[in-house]
Amino acid sequence: MTSTLKGITLKGSAELVAEFFSFGINSILYQRGIYPPETFTRITHYDMSLQLTTDPKLKNYLTNVVCQLKEWLFECTVQKFVLVITCLETNEVLERWQFDIECDKSAKETSAPREKSIKTIQDEIRSVIRQITATVTFLPLLETPCAFDLLVYTDKDLMVPDKWEESGPQIIDQSEEVRLRSFTTSIHKVNSMVAYKRTDSA
């Protein structure tokens, strides 16, 4: 079904990006050991195997977030999406995964599909997720039990929905930052980056 589709619309783009976040969050939670590995199940998507949580509460939470995100993506009002990993006991921020989203707002006016095949986009997404997996080579081991939090940066004039609240940026001081790959659907462009607490060597 995808092979015949040549172009991409705003709606489709929002869906693709939201789907990326869903898999991306799951990957990070699995890779960084925020939830025990037994609570994940392996599925195949983007021609690669990915881990999806089976924890019902977490699943529900993620679905809610991603649904809301999809709406904002469709309205082109999101600027950033951030996953913050904090130490459960001290509430110190240990890792910060930031995804900057650039929306092409002109897509809202014209409904004509853009020229970019879903396959190319998915290839780009795949390499981003691969890179997320590969970050274990330099990220410090998370030794303490951790919690995670999701932050969304939106345009200023947006109404805050019931289930959301305003929050601080939760930035790590003295952090090491690594830019990851980016991908674009030609309507939404997502730049990824991870920041982590600097090692006390050197």
Binding site: P36, E38, E89, R130, Q131, A134, V136, T137, F138, L139, P140, L141, E143, T144, P145, E176, E177, V178, R179, L180, R181, S182, N191, Y196, K197, R198, T199, D200, S201, A202
Partner: protein
């Protein structure tokens, strides 16, 4: 976006050893970009600086230099390996400060021991040795590393016991010990729960099963059957080799043809294996080949004739003629070689033999120290052997002298400058 340069770490991600504390990405980029054109002079210079600092340091915290040196090495050689000299340095530092227990409870020293242990083939031995010597017994990190090693080997009970030992010794920081112990308990209980669930779900009897590979099929005319005896999941804990307990093997029909003779079995009946020095070589009653060694050159295999008698083949007659040898022809007495034959002592770097584990060397060192204390040592080097050989590389006298000279010069320059600065003020 400067993505082009940033993917380098991803391309060589398999060659980067993960560190507990993570890596500084700038150091990683630096190390990876330099990898392509060999060891750069910058790295060599830095290493040399560390090496000479090790020797020239005269403050009261010599461990600090070592600590920085090792951290630098870890960051600079992401792939580890021989080039990094990490194993050598770790062994050096660990051995060096066993004299006098100044650092025994220093978290840095214990951390170095743990790194050393992780580099060794048998980390558990090292941890036991540490405990016996009283190194780091009040440090939480020792118990965490020790317990994690047990857990990795699948021995959760021992892993728990290690924490109990830590509690007994009141290891610091206490919170961390408590937290890691809790985490272990949580993991174990979750595992048990999972196992119970799995046991409920499948009612199949537990019979020998192959883990992953299927039975090898014979091809063509050959009817060879490869003996395979992988059984259950417990097989993982046994390090590769022959299984000594035959019970599980018996169930495997394909293997029953082949009975391996085990000479240890017949002997190890009543007596328990004890660690004692052998008064006499063990009796050879279980030996199979009883024949005495003798001269073999004229012995012939008796051959059976058609009629069943054994006949000896007649010895080949000696040639009655002299083979012709050309006068000018001299057979080459030696294969041509580039090395001057007068030089017969070719040196190569000594490789530690396989039985010589780092732990063994450590114990030897310890032994030597004891002997030295009791005045039994017969050797005494009359030069600063310690200074020349410490660190990962060897220094020569001139290098040391130069270091001292430069130090003196810089001090003199400073001494001259200071009064000059003082006058205008």
């Amino acid at each position: 976006m400067a993505e082009g340069g940033d993917v380098e770490w991803e391309l060589s991600k398999e060659n980067i050893q993960p560190l507990r504390r993570g890596r500084a990405i700038s150091a990683l980029h630096h190390a990876l970009s330099q990898q392509q054109d060999g060891l750069s002079s910058a790295i060599n210079q830095q290493r040399q600086a560390f090496e000479s600092e090790l020797r020239m340091y005269d403050g009261d915290d010599p461990l600090d230099v070592w600590d920085r040196y090792i951290k630098w090495t870890e960051q600079t050689f992401p792939q580890g390996g021989k080039e990094s000299n990490l194993a050598t340095i770790l062994e050096q530092v660990v051995t060096r400060f066993t004299e006098g227990n100044k650092y025994y409870d220093d978290p840095r020293y214990v951390e170095l021991w743990i790194k050393f242990a992780e580099n060794c083939p048998e980390p558990l031995d090292i941890y036991r040795y540490m405990q016996a010597q009283g190194i780091g017994v009040t440090q939480t990190s020792l118990y965490i590393a020790w317990s994690e090693e047990y857990e990795n080997q699948g021995n959760c009970r021992k892993a728990d016991l290690v924490y109990q030992e830590g509690f007994k010794k009141c290891a610091e920081p206490h919170d961390k010990l408590l937290q890691f112990h809790k985490a272990l308990q949580a993991r174990v209980s979750r595992q048990v729960m999972m196992n119970v669930e799995e046991d409920d779900s499948d009612d199949e009897p537990k019979e020998p099963q192959r883990v992953s590979l299927a039975d090898l099929k014979s091809r063509g005319k050959k009817k060879a059957i490869a003996p395979i005896n992988r059984v259950g999941s417990a097989i993982r804990s046994i390090p590769g080799g022959i299984q000594s307990h035959g019970a599980s093997v018996l169930g495997n029909a394909s293997n029953s043809k082949l009975v391996v003779f085990d000479e240890n079995k017949t002997r190890a009946g009543p007596s328990e294996p004890k660690l004692e020095s052998w008064a006499a070589p063990p009796t050879s009653k279980a030996k199979e080949n009883e024949q005495k060694p003798g001269i073999w050159c004229d012995v012939k295999m008796p051959q059976k004739s058609k009629f069943g008698h054994t006949v000896m083949a007649p010895p080949p007659p000696k040639p009655t003629f002299q083979p012709f040898v050309e006068e000018s022809d001299q057979p080459p007495t030696m294969t041509p070689c580039k090395i001057n034959p007068a030089v017969n002592s070719v040196l190569s770097a000594r490789k530690p033999c396989r039985e010589e584990t780092p732990l063994k060397r450590l114990q030897e060192h310890h032994q030597q120290q004891k002997e030295a204390e009791s005045g039994k040592l017969h050797e005494q080097s009359m030069y600063c052997k310690e200074l020349l050989l410490s660190g990962a590389t060897e220094f020569c006298f001139e290098e040391l002298r130069a270091e001292r000279y430069f130090k003196k010069v810089t001090q003199e320059v400073k001494g001259e400058k200071d009064p000059a600065n003082a006058t205008p003020n």
